[in-house]
Symmetry: C2
Subunit: 215 residues, 2 copies
Amino acid sequence: MKGVKSKRMPRAVRERQMMDAAVQTFGQRGYRAASMDEIAELAGVSKPLVYLYLNSKEELFTACIRREAAALIAAVEAAVEPGLPADRQLWAGLAAFFTHTAEHPDGWAVLHQQARTHGEPFALEVAAMRDEIVTFVTGLIATAAREAGAARQDPELADRDVAGLAQALVGAAESLAGWMNQTGAVSAKEAAATLMNFAWMGLGELMKGERWSSR
Amino acid sequence: MKGVKSKRMPRAVRERQMMDAAVQTFGQRGYRAASMDEIAELAGVSKPLVYLYLNSKEELFTACIRREAAALIAAVEAAVEPGLPADRQLWAGLAAFFTHTAEHPDGWAVLHQQARTHGEPFALEVAAMRDEIVTFVTGLIATAAREAGAARQDPELADRDVAGLAQALVGAAESLAGWMNQTGAVSAKEAAATLMNFAWMGLGELMKGERWSSR
């Protein structure tokens, strides 16, 4: 029975293959156009098996959103070392964000376009991920502002300002990643550098020819 | 027949009333939950009249997206005086953007949430508006960069950088406007100031306690 046994894969491996196929199909063809037949074929399994594991197209899509969101958040959080100066932390986070979205264009399309376009339940899933990223970025900016404020004994950035800046930064990153993946006009590194310059130096300094540098 | 005549409104006026009611209903209740009955009642007309003028819920929603998008773009473009220095132009555009979205929360909800959540045809409508705003902002930044570059005889911002910065700025504005209208945490003026500081001064200068000032 060795032959049979070697053909049986652990459930986790099979599920991952199905999810990989689903993310690719949803990302490239869109949620509505994607068919369970297509996903099963790409995963090299039967359609009933996909349904057995993942119930319905809706649940499969929801599972894809959750997996891709968790992977993106993990990539960004892993890149940011809390001990570093604020600008280095931001740079590491941005570089990880754009690298991950560039390397997983189908996952990003699922999160940024498909999940938001096909009804409120999916949109709420992706909003939850976004809130998590905003909270993380808010923490980064708040810590940096506290340190900078303590250094000059003059804490000036109110919580409200920090929250607004985090919203602005996350919105800018989403927009730039969407543009990068749709047009291919810039690499992940270039997108990260553009946003780092924008966010850290500001347009005003950029206009004077100043650039942020990692030194 | 004077009484009858005075009850007859020009088509344009009636249509505007229906559209106002539709934007309010779609914005507050969501596209799916909104009913044509509700919209007709709010507009003070019969449901058949709404259908006579605007054909279907889909077409009515599309007309709402177009009207609200055109109004937002017009408000921003009207506020920006081409002759002013770049930072003053940016400030005027941001102030107009956040004032308009704060004063038209239902219109903004239609554009920013509803249109993107309920299928690709609507999402494409709002993407077209977004492209128009990005083009406008790209022009602003490109002009400013050209002038600044000419002043120091060293044009450094490539077209690709300008395009990326415009994407970042528009994404930041969208994100901040959504947060402002959903949480009510800041006023339109505060949101505009936050983004002006972010975009012009950069986080680095903000951390040092610097603020952009309109002088």
